[in-house]
């Protein structure tokens, strides 16, 4: 099914927005994880982190490919990834935060996956067949990300004095960025009604349950989501995104249309 003909115009615009939220979250976090390649603390994680990065980038490709069809302007998935400026990106701020240490990266991955897993689980019943089909694949990937990163959160949080200190510092750093996951607006409300997003309360309950179980075992304090920093969905990003894009987009900017 190509183009937007199968969708009402309003729905098509909302779905386009959703695909960029999800696609940008996954591309930027996937790029951050890929930065560990060759730098992880042990060989096993040097493979595990790029494995997870490739899962995320695969989802970004699906989102951009579908978005390009709905938009109908002749753009390709590469155009979305490599030729947009920072203010055009719609990811939440947490995913663009620098990797920090291994504890920071694992906690961020755990929080992201604990949120995306129930979201994809809900989307397996989405009213859009293409989204529902991809959700069936992504929900398995996120289940593994929750497990892999969650086990590390537990072992570092309840490990040595040094690892526990680092895991708590990671929680302090990431805390202000968690609330943006659960923000809603008119577009997201319409997407829920249209069957293109699951009920936010269901997603939140699953997230809270996963986090509470893991944090208890990790000797971390209960997660409290207070007022935080947001604006990513409106294209307001930190300076760090500019540095990320400079590296990620360099090749296509310097050699337009280059392929291999």
């Amino acid at each position: 099914m190509a183009g937007r003909d199968h969708l009402a115009d309003d729905t098509a615009d909302d779905l386009l927005a959703l695909l960029l939220w999800i696609g940008d979250d996954h591309l930027i976090l996937g790029h951050r994880l890929s930065e560990w390649c060759g730098h992880a603390p042990m060989l096993e994680e040097d493979l595990a982190l790029p494995n997870m990065a490739l899962d995320l980038i695969g989802t970004a490709r699906m989102c951009y490919g579908y978005a390009a069809e709905i938009e109908g302007g002749g753009r390709s998935e590469d155009d979305y990834a490599f030729l947009r400026d920072g203010t055009d990106f719609r990811h939440m701020l947490m995913v663009e935060r620098p990797n920090g240490d291994f504890a920071h990266t694992m906690l961020r991955q755990f929080l992201f996956a604990a949120w995306m897993h129930p979201l994809w689980d809900g989307l397996t019943g989405a009213s859009d067949a293409r989204l529902a089909d991809h959700a069936g694949k992504a929900v398995k990937e996120m289940a593994y990300h929750v497990r892999h990163s969650g086990e590390w959160v537990i072992r570092l949080g309840d490990g040595t004095a040094e690892s526990a200190r680092r895991m708590r510092a990671a929680l302090d750093d990431l805390g202000p960025y968690i609330g943006e996951m659960f923000e809603s607006d008119e577009t997201s409300a319409r997407l829920v009604v249209a069957g293109l997003l699951p009920d936010p309360a269901t997603v939140r309950a699953a997230f809270d349950s996963t986090v509470a179980r893991t944090f208890t075992m990790a000797q971390l304090p209960p997660l409290e989501i207070g007022a935080g920093i947001s604006g990513g969905r409106a294209g307001r990003h930190g300076e760090v995104l500019g540095h990320l894009l400079a590296e990620m987009q360099f090749l296509q900017r310097a050699y337009p249309g280059q392929t291999w």
């Binding site: 060989l43 096993e44 595990a48 593994y144 497990r147 892999h148 086990e151 040595t160 004095a161």
Partner: protein, 103 residues
Amino acid sequence: MSDDTRSLSPRDLMPIWEVFIRPRTGLAHSHVGSVHASDEVMAVQAARDVYTRRGEGVSIWVVPSASITASDPDQRDENFDPAASKVYRHPSFYDIPDDVGHM
């Protein structure tokens, strides 16, 4: 949180585990290599990430390397050379009927 982990070496904190993969249902688990991990749960995860990236398996076993008892390399001649002269143990002297199929 244990306070005495500081005195442990990296090898104690991250021992080696031998990894066995079953390529598909009906076949035996085969040794494929080893990983470092803090415990058996992390060892299975590490094995999954290192050894099943290209669809190599449907099941993983991990065993602490320290649990494996190996034959002594110094006893190799006495262990294995005597088998070399007993060609009659190979079942190559029988005609296998076609109906039996692949053995």
